[in-house]
């Protein structure tokens, strides 16, 4: 009886429920459209900028451009010292920021006690990721260049960019570690593994993918940084290369290059864009396109590596 009585009401409701569903579906559609629009406008902006750089700079995409030193004659000027400088600075950045960043991430996630000190550290790390890069430049000028006496060298620049990159590595390491299911750890402990064995053989191994992404995104940010590098006193004209890091004689590694003066790609670009002659602007466009290509390649590599590593891991 009761059922029968209520039925008409449900049927009446059905219309309004359908209307609600329609309304929600329409909202879904609107949201998807807005999302598409935002993504498309961002991508198109980047593509247009990139194409513009390529179109302006394409006459300079020659081998000479990569093997020549800067020059007052735009048509023979090249980016040899700039790309070598950028590579060496990034090498230092990589070898400093990656071990420190991963270690810090693992410590905070696995070892640190959850108390106010670790809270403060955590807030600081997240804040540091958002600090403008010029601040790092000023810190590095006082600390590395003068207090430590490292001078305006590749080492100073590499350490500066490493500071910039550290928070990114730490945050991505922690996130990657957090994504590992708790039962992996519990299984390892259950068979008698020590904490370090769990961390080293499982936690770090399984979080490589995420860590790597953070590392490469950090490197991609570092390669385009200009402000902190200018602050610590990068050169603009330098027509010789630092001593090579690898030698034929033992001990095969040479660290003199760390103390060498240098320039980097964005500084070379900045210098050319501010010159009066249009031919220099073409060089600047070509350099800009190369920086974007390098960044895209690095990000692409990050995605590919992450994909490969994830495929290998079977819980």
């Amino acid at each position: 009886m009761v059922k029968n009585k209520k039925q008409p009401a449900v049927i009446k409701d059905l219309e309004s429920i359908r209307a609600m569903i329609r309304r929600h579906k329409r909202n879904d559609l609107i949201f998807a459209a807005v999302g598409m629009f935002v993504i498309a406008s961002l991508t198109i902006t980047l593509l247009v900028l990139f194409l513009d750089l390529i179109l302006d700079g394409y006459p300079r995409f020659t081998l000479d451009f990569f093997t020549n030193y800067p020059s007052r004659k735009p048509e023979i000027a090249g980016i040899l010292s700039a790309w070598v400088g950028s590579s060496l600075v990034l090498l230092v950045t990589f070898f400093v920021a990656v071990p420190l960043g991963i270690a810090a991430g693992v410590y905070l996630e696995e070892y640190a006690k959850k108390n106010w000190t670790s809270d403060i550290i955590e807030i600081n790390v997240s804040n540091l990721a958002g600090v403008p890069s010029i601040i790092y430049g000023l810190l590095a000028l006082g600390l590395f260049v003068y207090a430590f006496g490292l001078g305006q060298s590749i080492l100073s620049a590499g350490l500066t960019l490493a500071l910039l990159m550290l928070p990114i590595v730490i945050v991505s390491t922690r996130e990657a570690i957090r994504a590992i299911p708790i039962h992996i750890r519990e299984a390892a402990y259950a068979v008698g593994a020590t904490k370090w064995q769990v961390v080293y053989d499982h936690v770090i191994q399984y979080s490589y993918g995420g860590i790597l992404t953070g590392v490469i995104i950090g490197m991609a940010r570092a390669i385009g940084e200009t402000a902190p590098i200018i602050t610590i006193g990068a050169l603009t004209f330098i027509a010789f290369l630092p001593p090579t890091p690898v030698t034929v004689d033992p001990p095969f590694l040479n660290f003199e290059w760390l103390s060498s003066g240098f320039t980097v790609l964005p500084i070379q670009m900045f210098n050319w864009i501010s010159r009066p002659q249009h031919a220099f602007h073409i060089n600047a466009a070509a350099t800009g396109a190369i920086i974007i290509i390098l960044t895209a390649l690095m990000n692409g590599a990050a995605i590919k590596l992450r994909y490969n590593i994830r495929k290998k891991i079977k819980w």
Binding site: R72, F95, V96, L155, T236, L258, S259
Partner: protein, 334 residues
């Protein structure tokens, strides 16, 4: 696993090396280090390029701006400082306190060029007084239209474009036109990149701006230069000729390099470089868009340099000095 170990070892080596190196290896290479003004940079870059090709001695050039350059110079980090204005008393004192004496060497002229939009058919000639009226601090918020500058000019909004306050170009312009260093109205569009100023002036009919001659020469199709009245009452357009014969004043300004006197006296590489610089400065300056001195003037500058006479000709600020006057003033110091 092997690879992993290798990676670990190299990481350890890299970290270890960062802490053990600093003291021993810095200063190992004999490099002629230059830093300073971005205006003088193209000349120094050109000379450095040729010098390195000719002698194999390494030269580096930085771009910290005139003020930043002097800071490094007075700390003894560089041997030569590029400067688009004379050294200031404060900077000279900083050098003196650090025990660094300097030789002031003028290397070329730059002609500050006042430019207007192509569509501007009224302001072909302006007097320094009219420029002052536009740019002085008192004009802020008051002088907003061209017809306030000279009766007969149209009622066109006046849009001002100029280099920012950190630039030597700005310092010189204010000294020459407003007769007070760094005094300027606040409501104008400033940019450290002269190409931005070119864009700005070429995009607005009522715009006026100023920057170095090279930027005008490269953008003649977009902008017109204004003839500025000189001390003799004549309206003169900026060019290599009018600057060289001295008729384009007061906006022709000298560019300098400052040389560490001790290094100039004792370091053979630095000596070689400065001699090379002075021999080639004229040719190089012209190639990169500046105005060379005459050969006699370069000869006189070289003589002055060889006497290792330190100090500046600009203990009192001065505008529109000839090379001869600068050298005489410098020689007369102390």
């Amino acid at each position: 696993m092997k690879e992993n170990n290798l990676l670990k070892i190299s990481i350890a080596a890299a970290i270890a090396s960062t802490f053990t190196f600093s003291a021993t290896t810095f200063a190992a290479v004999d490099i002629v280090k230059i830093d300073g003004s971005s205006t003088v940079y193209p000349i120094s870059e050109a000379v450095a390029e040729e010098f390195q090709k000719a002698t194999g001695i390494k030269v580096t050039v930085g771009l910290s701006g005139t003020g930043g350059g002097f800071k490094k110079f007075c700390r003894g980090e560089t041997v030569i400082s590029d400067a688009s204005r004379p050294i200031k008393a404060k900077e000279a004192k900083m050098c003196e306190e650090a025990g660094i004496s300097f030789i002031e060497i003028p290397v070329a002229f730059d002609a500050l060029t006042v430019v207007v939009n192509k569509g501007n058919d009224w302001a072909k000639e302006l007097t320094p007084a009219e420029l002052k009226k536009m740019w002085e601090p008192a004009a802020q918020g008051k002088i907003m239209s061209w017809n306030q500058i000279r009766p007969g000019f149209p009622d066109q909004p006046l849009k001002l474009f100029g280099p920012g306050a950190d630039s030597g170009t700005f310092d010189y312009f204010t000294e020459a036109i407003i007769e007070k260093s760094k005094a300027i109205r606040g409501d104008f569009t400033a940019s450290e990149d002269d190409n931005v100023l070119v864009q700005g002036v070429s995009g607005d009919k009522g715009a006026i701006g100023y920057f170095g001659l090279a930027y005008f020469v490269e953008n003649k199709d977009k902008l017109d230069a204004v003839a500025v009245q000189n001390g003799a009452g004549k309206f003169v357009l900026p060019s290599v000729e009018t600057t060289m014969d001295g008729s384009y004043n007061p906006l022709a300004r000298p560019l300098f390099i400052y040389l560490n006197a001790t290094k100039a006296a004792f370091d053979p590489n630095v000596k070689k470089f400065v001699e090379f610089y002075l021999k080639n400065a004229g040719k190089m300056a012209k190639e990169v868009g500046y105005i060379p001195f005459s050969n006699e003037e370069y000869a006189a500058i070289t003589e002055h340099y060889r006497t290792l006479k330190t100090g500046t000709a600009f203990e009192k600020p001065a505008i529109g000095l000839s090379v001869k006057q600068m050298l005489e003033l410098s020689a007369a110091n102390k």
